[in-house]
Symmetry: C2
Subunit: 152 residues, 2 copies
DNA sequence: TTGCGTGCAAAGGTTTTGCATGGCA
DNA sequence: TGCCATGCAAAACCTTTGCACGCAA
């Protein structure tokens, strides 16, 4: 099989701990670097990126492109990701306020089946993000359209 | 309303012409810069990016993050985008070979209705890309997994 | 002791910005 | 003529890579 990481270093443990403490957040490399530097010895950016890549390959993290511009972000997948039990889990990202909504819905599970059966394409829900406008923003569309809510 | 671009310059015309000649392709800034430099006087990167941003705001182009890494890309929206008649049009992007499939399917149109009705979220199909594995790659998964097909 | 993981710095690529010049209206 | 758009260069960003050192096993 693939090569697992062999050494157990403090840096790896701290990075993984941060994801475990924020299991539902999408975390950019920049946030990780900043958060860890405030909470102990700073960790070099190169190490962070290398660990993120390795943790992703080991199935502990998932990489997203939820950001419309530039930066990638990662989320803790943990045992779920290993067991592969999260296949009907999609994300909705509001392009207005930036909120990220986790959606677990049988309708979407059917969708992946339909696309696979009729279009021969195996969707990876955990890598797929829907963009659009959330209910809160569509209600208050005349108010302050750039409310900048946090991604959860 | 918003400010439309006022001047008609050669650069803008050439950029728009390139998108009109490739109405179904997703085009990166780098490709645009290279293509236009081979076909007449080169256009500065800054101008390209500024025009892309303006054309997107005017509704003539759509911006995507179809690439998993780094670069954004744009597609000609044209009159369709203005009239807003392309709402059931999704994209499937194969993470294996990189091919981009355009999918127009009533199933997906129903999906957007369901998510809007039951989850209060208005999906923007033209900004949403599904990631997964295409039929060709899932068949030849034991062969050469990194075939690098072109995005169309 | 072995060699993987880290840190630092430098490089790489994409996108943005400042400023003087050019060109459309 | 007025002012927007362009071009060039430099900067800003995110991410990767090279290399020597430190640390886990």
């Amino acid at each position: 099989m693939e090569r697992q990481s062999t050494y157990r270093t403090k840096q790896k443990a701290r990075i993984l701990a941060y994801f475990e403490e924020n299991p539902h957040r999408h975390i950019t490399a920049a946030e990780l670097i900043q958060a860890l530097s405030q909470n102990g010895t700073p960790i070099g950016a190169a190490t962070v990126y290398r660990q993120l890549e390795r943790l992703e390959q080991n199935g502990l993290l998932r990489r997203y492109t939820a950001d419309e511009r530039g930066s990638a972000c990662w989320q803790y997948g943990g045992e779920e990701a290993k067991a592969g039990t999260c296949h009907s889990h999609f994300h909705l990202k509001c392009t207005e306020c930036g909120i990220l909504i986790h959606l677990d819905c049988t309708h979407l599970a059917e969708l992946t089946g339909h696309v696979r059966t009729d279009h021969g394409f195996a969707i990876a829900p955990e890598r797929t993000t829907f963009y659009g406008i959330c209910s809160q923003c569509s209600q208050s569309d005349t108010d302050s359209p750039k409310a900048e809510r946090n991604s959860i």
